[in-house]
Symmetry: D2
Subunit: 361 residues, 4 copies
């Protein structure tokens, strides 16, 4: 039940951080779609660990093996399964705290839920590593969407106090490409420098830092989605909250609308050349769960990496006695950085699912 999303296109993620393999099953892809493995690899490389000093030292090539559903470079209509073998898994690093749940990690809940049977080495099935298979699914979805003029992009919109500019009213694919090519995926390079400082200074203290990511989908038609519980917002939320460490999600102006008047928040419609747009996009391209044809824009908050070098208070399992914990291991000081492609992947998979479900691809 747990590790699947989508209606017409079901995406199911499997694997544990230190198990044999991680992977994804995609059931419902249209047949005849070319899958370019090089482009897919380039997308996966954007979230791959070990690229630079801001990220965990774990080194994984993360080259997926496509087991099914693709013949001669094209989808064949049957389910696509892809796997990545885990190679550089040093479980020893984690053994020491199997009996001490790490604060802000899933360890304690998992212990209660599965009575100690879960494989929690490296976070197990809860690990950020599981965003790699999500990125396989999303990377394939992005290729299919791009062929129809639909593009998904994201950027780090803030780390600590350092903030990037927001996306313009009509972001376009070249901007997404330019951001994706940067070490720190931002619009404004000076913002990226500020973020680098936030991250290195947190890391220097054995600490970590949070951030936000803004994501946009452009090119979707108006009229996509459903009212109430299966609209664009609900579906993006279901997928997006599957990415570890995300604790909030807002569309368009989001929480800022709490302090707006209607006259300010409402997006006036405007017609030009037989095409309808809105003059602002405070609703993030979604009204009543249904797309307006404007870019879909949402922002998430990613909490500071819970694994920090500083000592923390916790309890012993299964005896529940107070104790302290020091985490060694290898950890990103700011997981927001690597969440950027994962957000794009989730958004692309949701957009493709909705187009497929409504026969609009």
């Amino acid at each position: 039940m747990s590790s699947e999303f989508g209606n017409a296109l079901k995406v199911s993620v499997f694997g544990e951080s230190h198990g044999d393999a991680i992977g994804v099953l995609m059931d419902g892809l249209p047949a005849g779609e070319a899958v370019d493995p090089d482009a897919l690899q380039r997308f996966l490389d954007r979230r791959r660990p070990g690229k630079n000093i801001l990220e965990t030292a774990r080194s994984e090539a993360d080259v997926p093996r496509l087991l099914s559903g693709i013949t001669g470079g094209r989808t064949n209509g049957s389910p696509v399964c892809a796997m990545i073998e885990n190679r550089d898994a040093r479980s020893g690093d984690y053994a020491s705290f199997s009996d001490k749940p790490r604060p802000s990690h899933a360890d304690y809940g998992a212990f209660v839920k599965w009575g100690g049977m879960a494989d929690m080495r490296g976070g197990g099935h809860f690990s950020g590593r599981l965003t790699a298979p999500l990125c396989i699914a999303g990377g394939i979805a992005k290729q299919i969407l791009a062929r129809r003029g639909i593009f998904v992009g994201a950027h780090l919109s803030s780390v600590g106090a350092a903030a990037d500019d927001p996306f313009p009213l009509f972001p376009e694919a070249p901007l997404f490409d330019a951001i994706a090519a940067k070490d720190i995926p931002v619009i404004k390079d000076t913002a990226g420098e500020g973020m680098r400082t936030e991250i290195t200074s947190a890391a220097a203290c054995g600490d970590s830092v949070g951030g936000t990511v803004e994501c946009a989908i452009v090119g979707l038609p108006a009229g996509l989605g459903d009212p109430m519980f299966d609209g664009m917002e609900n579906r993006l939320a279901k997928a997006v909250f599957g990415i570890p460490a995300i604790k909030g999600l807002e569309f368009g102006a989001g929480f800022a609308m709490s302090n707006m008047r209607g006259s300010e928040a409402n997006d006036p419609f405007r017609a030009e050349d037989g095409k309808v747009t809105t003059e602002s996009n405070n609703n993030g391209g979604i009204l009543g769960g249904i797309t307006t044809g404007m870019p879909i824009v949402f922002r998430v908050v990613i909490k500071p990496t819970p694994s920090i070098a500083l000592p923390q208070r916790t309890v012993t399992l299964p005896d529940f006695e107070n104790t302290e914990l020091e985490i060694k291991g290898r950890h990103d000081p700011c997981v927001a950085l690597r969440a950027v492609p994962a957000l794009e992947a989730a958004a692309a998979a949701v957009a493709l699912d909705m187009l497929l479900e409504e026969g609009k691809l």
Copy 2:
């Protein structure tokens, strides 16, 4: 597809604002549960329109008729269907703008999606009125949960610039009851007065104002939920974004965590009398999608009521020419006010669904 949520307990909402009836179908309720119609009515009355001058003048008794699934005051194991007949539907008020989509309403997307066939009088199936059947489902869920010591409460946490106190670390049922008894459901009465001023001053300008609502579920066991895409956050999100006008959702400290360090954001575990809690609740009682046993705490933003008296720019349908629109009708100047019980309803239905699915009720 659109109007249903839940796994073990499916909640399906039907009806249009100006149709014959609105209602809800609940499939999966446990058998033998007493349903107190008076308590249910009191809960429904909290969202009923026309209670005071801050709300729409539409007057509906909103007394549900239970059509099935209940025998002798108890659930009998088969699906519960409940309906509310629409009585005070003055469609004339709305007829004038069927050809002019109201900014920040679903009108335009619905027009594109259904080619003008949707019944959009009063917002149709997108109307805030559809939270009444949601509240029937949630009201029944609340009764079932309360019997197990699980309580759901919410308060207006802000309207415009006027902000209430947040919930304490361990909110309890009497606090929820005290809030629910107030005209403006807040913790701190002076905050309520500030909100009243925000609302009346917006209304006086023919305008509306946004707000936020904080909601808590207390008494849930640790270990409830699933990793990745079907955790507590994903499920609450799917339900909550079904409530009209909600544009953002955050758990625990939420967006504030973007500017925290891990050492500050992490919630240290503490054991006392064989029970594990956390010293803070920045994660809102959820880690990796799974409950920690701490209160589930989340906050939503509700945009300003899109229907305002001020003239707005829009386009004509189906010709797409620029024009202006003035909305008469009856509208709450601040829909956040009536979203409070709807939030509780969504949260209660989700919590009950999860308990049922895991056999933990």
Copy 3:
């Protein structure tokens, strides 16, 4: 979970035989479809009780009230809810055996499952009466399909030893209409007379008799359906086994194929005027779960009405002592008779769901 089927078009049935009302919720109907209430009523009248001496004496007008989803005689895109109020419910007839499960009825399983909380008067949610709301859904689906040249028909293919002819290789709508107009819905009238004798002679002994129904869907395109677990056969099965008393289902030649050779059972393809058909239809128009463009043909067996006047051995509840039971009440001596329109309804709903899901309507 229990009372719903369909993917793109969800059909959820609610109500109990002796409760306030029975009904159906249909979520996913296309917008703009005319619903002719007279044609719907004529279809419902085909399953209505009390038409002739072969059927139960319970008299219900069974006129549905459409609560939502229809405006000006057309679907509006939001969920359609329809209800039928129960009027002629004489629960007294059933009270005597609430503590003695009726053999071949759901009573015992329901007692164990719901601990005596189920409303089993008249069979409760398990009653054949619940096929009335199924027929509302199917009747609406039939109207939508007929507009596209897709027709669903069924006939009693046997009662006891009396057997009707099978459908011809290419059955057509006029044949379906002719069958539907008969008291006993058969192709060959002499077969109908034989069935009448079977039924009246069983009834005269205080007994009941079983039968089979053959159903066909004509006009569906080739290429509809999915491999493995969501093909045409799987979906029809899921819906069809929801009709009480059905204990078997076969497609095309069905069980007769166990004694065929491949050379005999295989349906040779033939092309004519650019159109592909098969020379025989032993596979019932489905290969690998996918339609071939030939008529979909399936047959079900309906067990003898479990409620008989003859004394039967059973046990007491909740003490489990051996006892005897005599059933009074009002019962059809052959439920197969009234299952005919229910089969058509289930088949129509499934066909419409599949067309909608694949964007082929």
Copy 4:
């Protein structure tokens, strides 16, 4: 959408007959369950091709690799993915008829559905080979069930005119084991000899022959299942019709009930030592979709292997001209033989899913 079944335990099958790998994803298994790889292999060996002259000459070791979800020989609560690499795939055999759909195979429907993009070598995703991953899932389920005293067994009940005895009223595990150990899995060995003659004589003519399989689940509690569309029959049907070549399914006395009277078909209840059974089991252990505590008994018909050596009439693709086809390749003359463990697998997965969903494992 297509290749998944189950509610609490989702089983998703992937792969093509001549692709890289076939496999299965199981999401929802309980944590802490031992998985014995040797016992699993023994179960898989029962359906492995190439064991004897009655079966296809394709030789595959079919040793599954468990990629995730299992740690130290026990399920860890996260999804289990298992794969089998395809080794002995001689696609050349199949190349000749990619433009001529084989009668009674899915080729034509797949061509229409996927516009020639499907990988139909060896039947592709429709191949009987896909029952291998189903057997992995079922084999694991069987181990989990057996630990609770729940056993699943099946036997060839007929091939052509040669018929085995039916299961006794209360079949037990040793009988299942004895059947499984035989080359031809029957109760009565002389029946097996008759079946061998049927198969070899069909094979000698370049032809194939159909059969039936009877399957039983013993040890399930009463009260399991749901009314209407999600009962035991509906769920078994959804899974069972996913096994290629199955064209009919009946529970208990099944189609024979069409010619029974109620007094004969009804199963009288009897209490002994505080336990309720029925004196006969014409309903196959299911009433109203809910288990009675009696053995679940069902029978399926498996059509003759569609691939025969005899020449057949078909059409050319994509031009639709009449032509002939001769199939070389390697094929079982009677697929019913190898369907026996696949039936057990489907039944075990369904039973486990239902127990998990109702918290009754």
